[in-house]
Amino acid sequence: MKSWLTTTDHKRIGLLYFWTAFAFFLIGGVEALIIRAQLAQPNGHVVSAETYNQLFTMHGTTMIFLALMPLSASFFNYIVPLQIGARDVAFPRLNAFSYWVFLLGGLFLNASWLVGPLFHAGMLNVAPDGGWFGYANLTERPFSPGPNIDFWVLGLQILGISSLAAGFNFIVTILNLRAPGMKLMRLPTFTWMTLVTQFLVITAFPVITVGLVFLMFDRFFGTHFYIHEAGATPLLWQHLFWLFGHPEVYILILPAMGIVSEVLPTFARKPLFGYTVVVYSGILIGFMGWGVWSHHMFAVGLGPIADSVFAATTMLIAVPTGVKIFNWVATLWGGDIRGTTALHFAVGFIAMFIIGGLSGVSHASPPADLQQTDTYYVVAHIHYVLFGGTIFGLFAGIYYWWPKMTGRMLSETLGKWHFWLQFVGMNLAFFPMHFIGLLGMPRRIYTYPPELGVAQLNLVSTVGAFLIGVSVLLFLYNLVRTRSRGQRAANDPWGGATLEWSIPSPPPVYNFSVIPTITSRLPRWHTERHKAMQDPPATPPAPIHVPGGSWWPLVAALGLPVMALALLTHTLWIVFAGVALLLFGIYRWAFEPFEV
């Protein structure tokens, strides 16, 4: 227990990220199922309007900040140092700090489900209820007087600190801790996409932080950043939010694209087609992601010129995305394709993501978007991108790397069941939403009248959602079963080309008994120009010193929710307690002996 609380080992932190994020994924999933139960038929009465608004807000917030991002982070942590031939990340204790801040931020946000009585709310749940996009001025104190939005504003700021700290850490790790010979253009694609993602994180999160700080000051200290009576405009929030929000979409999808670019070559036994193009298109997507934010605001009335410009930039970003898809298909072409579960999910990613990409083009066109934005058509779009895309990609990664992370093989039979159930479930759940939206059902409504004519389609969607639920339970069973009954994994069960497959599964605490020297982009594969590398010896030739754990990242992290609690309860002295805890943790951290 103590060793887990104080761990600074990137592999253990990766597993902590995985299990925590997976637990939040289940919570977000249950929220989704309650939403679908409510909408299964017109005039649903499963939950009240207030609870429904909390459910969809927390479903979005949870899935994005507490499930998908940290599930990616689990692979950044576990896999990236292995792929670049490093012993750990650049700042192991900062890494632990990121994890603890994430955990505490997630718990803080979710505590809002249970603490209503403490705020005399008249109901148990006082969860955030302004949507994951939290548009001002609805989120201002006069329109949202309860603690709901306070939880959201403070929780997201805490989570932002976690992401930023991890961002600095992984940028330095990838740039600075590469094994000898691992040039940038020899980095595995997943590591490349991680690097691009981290640059997006450290540039996008400060912008949302500023937006949240303004909202916090408006709610607690009487400023008027989003109040038009004072001369301000609530649209400032939308600009700040989407300046963050669109890069955030790529923060969510690029790691999954990186995973797919690892899985396809391994199971086609063929190098990634157009590696350079795939890498550069990823970088290009990262840059262009900054120039498209106003396509979330076509109905705001920015004027025809701004609408045209943002339509053009948005359509342009489809080009590098399309290029990736063609390169993936070309990777499979001429290969020897083994239909493992990981490959199923990676191919599923391509097939589903393209639907999301194409519907994306339809709302890149502002006049068409005026009919689609804020309807279920957009709900369909984001779920094809984030479920059909990101989650399929992440599952591909889980089936691919789970043997490396735990030393046990997941059941392929259960895996295929999981894939097909989830594939059918997601298409049943999300495809009808295109029509539901086009027939005029807005999103974020807790009830709809039968006259709308969308009852049957909604019922189908609900059935699909529950099918996804079953598939996830099946996956959970597979995980649990594998712990005891899974087949032992060899160093390299799949015939992978990258460094993580050259060491035992799970790797020893020092990762590499000898740091390898890299001479090619596919070090473990024999190609025309390069011989396959020799795997490091099973036992290190000389003892390797591994740094011990530290309590102080956890202590420092605890300071943040305490500070948030001070605002939540309007109690000044708690702020000082939080700051003191944070400073105490940081000072002990800075001055403790921690050698490599």
């Binding site: 207030e50 608004n53 548009y135 609805l138 329109f143 038009h228 009576e229 405009t233 609530p234 649209l235 063929k270 190098p271 087609f273 157009g274 590696y275 193009v277 109905a299 009335g301 045209s308 339509a311 080009v319 290029v323 063609f326 298909v329 070309a330 499979l332 072409w333 001429g334 290969g335 020897d336 083994r338 239909g339 391509i350 097939a351 194409l358 083009v361 339809s362 890149a364 066109s365 502002p366 006049p367 068409a368 978007d369 005026l370 009919q371 934005t373 804020d374 309807t375 029509f435 086009l438 027939l439 807005p442 974020r444 409504i445 709809y448 006259e451 004519g453 389609l457 594969w525 025309e528």
Partner: protein, 342 residues
């Protein structure tokens, strides 16, 4: 006003029928009062044409890529006798080709897009009927600028005539949307957005708020009644008339007295009776078909329960229960009075 408008709707070309046909096949026959796929104005038709174009391009790309993917998966599936694959690393000409191909398709989407953006930007001829639309939590206020006329939740407009809506909000951000008549525009406090359109034919269309605006966002609906010129003229004239004065000693007169001495007057306007502006104008409330922004039919039973306890019928409704509560007799009198205000 749109340059591409037609006074009479043209027959729907085949390419526009794809989605509606799919719907029919799936067993969903309609009618769809809030459908974007059944346009009834020049604005809605322009977006529909554009969307149909995009759907066709998307369908072509989707089929091409997925067929390619499936063929690859089947043709190159693992076989024990398959020799080791050739380690191809890339192909410059192919990379250029599949960079250019989507770019060219996007040009075909972008050009009509920009044309439609400018055509639907909200400009209208000077003689257009001008209406100010004000979003409130959770109902719609309509002020006919040139007619000095105010009503709520049911917008009457003449068919075939240009209409220009100036959209804003009294509290939080809403979004005004009647799908069969055109795309939505946000109602933003401190800002005015415009949409303009010409409805094809008479009919009764529904719409609702599309931007999440709080507890009862789902219940912020509206109706648009498109009428012939003469019907619209008659409606407007009736709305401009002074409110009905209930006959002496009638139940309605009692209702008027109760209305005048209770909290009602703080929020509602009845011309010559009360000046409130927080809630809907009730001068001609009896002439409206629905209550509570399109949620219920405007009949005695619903009106009575609405007056007694609005939040029980519409979550979060700002009109709370009266303190001390109204008696049943009071409510019956109020209902009689309000219903008399045709």
């Amino acid at each position: 006003m749109l340059l591409l408008s037609h006074p009479v709707p043209p027959p729907r070309p085949f390419r526009l029928r794809l989605l509606t046909t799919l719907l029919a096949i799936s067993g969903c026959a309609g009618p769809y009062p809030q459908s974007t796929l059944h346009p009834h104005s020049d604005f809605a038709r322009a977006t529909d044409v554009l969307f149909a174009d995009i759907v066709w391009w998307a369908a072509v790309v989707f089929v091409l890529v997925d067929v390619m993917l499936l063929v690859t998966l089947v043709r190159f599936r693992h076989r024990p006798d398959r020799p080791a694959p050739k380690p191809t690393h890339g192909h410059t000409i192919m990379e250029i080709a599949w960079t250019l191909a989507p770019a060219v398709i996007l040009v075909f989407v972008a050009v009509p897009t920009v044309r439609t953006i400018f055509a639907t930007a909200g400009g209208a001829p000077a003689d257009a009927l001008k209406v100010q639309v004000i979003g409130h939590q959770w109902w719609w206020e309509f002020k006919y600028t040139d007619l000095a006329l105010t009503t709520a939740n049911e917008l009457h407009i003449p068919a075939g005539k240009p209409v220009r809506l100036a959209i804003t909000s009294a509290d939080v951000i809403h979004s005004f949307w009647i799908p069969p008549l055109g795309g939505k525009r946000d109602a933003i406090p401190g800002k005015t957005n415009y949409i303009a359109f010409r409805a094809d034919s008479t009919g009764d269309y529904s719409g609702q708020c599309a931007e999440f605006c709080g507890t009862s966002h789902a219940n912020m609906r509206l109706r648009v009644i498109v009428e012939s010129d003469s019907e619209f003229g008659a409606w407007a004239q009736n709305q401009l008339a002074s409110p009905v004065v209930p006959p002496k000693a009638s139940l309605a007169e009692q209702g008027k007295a109760i209305f005048s001495r209770s909290a009602c007057i703080g929020c509602h306007t009845i011309q010559g009776v009360s000046p409130g502006t927080i809630g809907p104008n009730l001068t001609h409330v009896g002439s409206r078909a629905t209550l509570a922004s399109g949620l219920f039919p405007n009949d005695s039973a619903h009106l009575a329960s609405w007056i007694a306890d609005a939040p029980a019928m519409k979550a979060g409704a700002i009109m709370t229960r009266m303190k001390p509560p109204l008696t049943d007799a009071d409510i019956a009198a109020l209902v009689a009075y309000l219903q008399s205000l045709k």
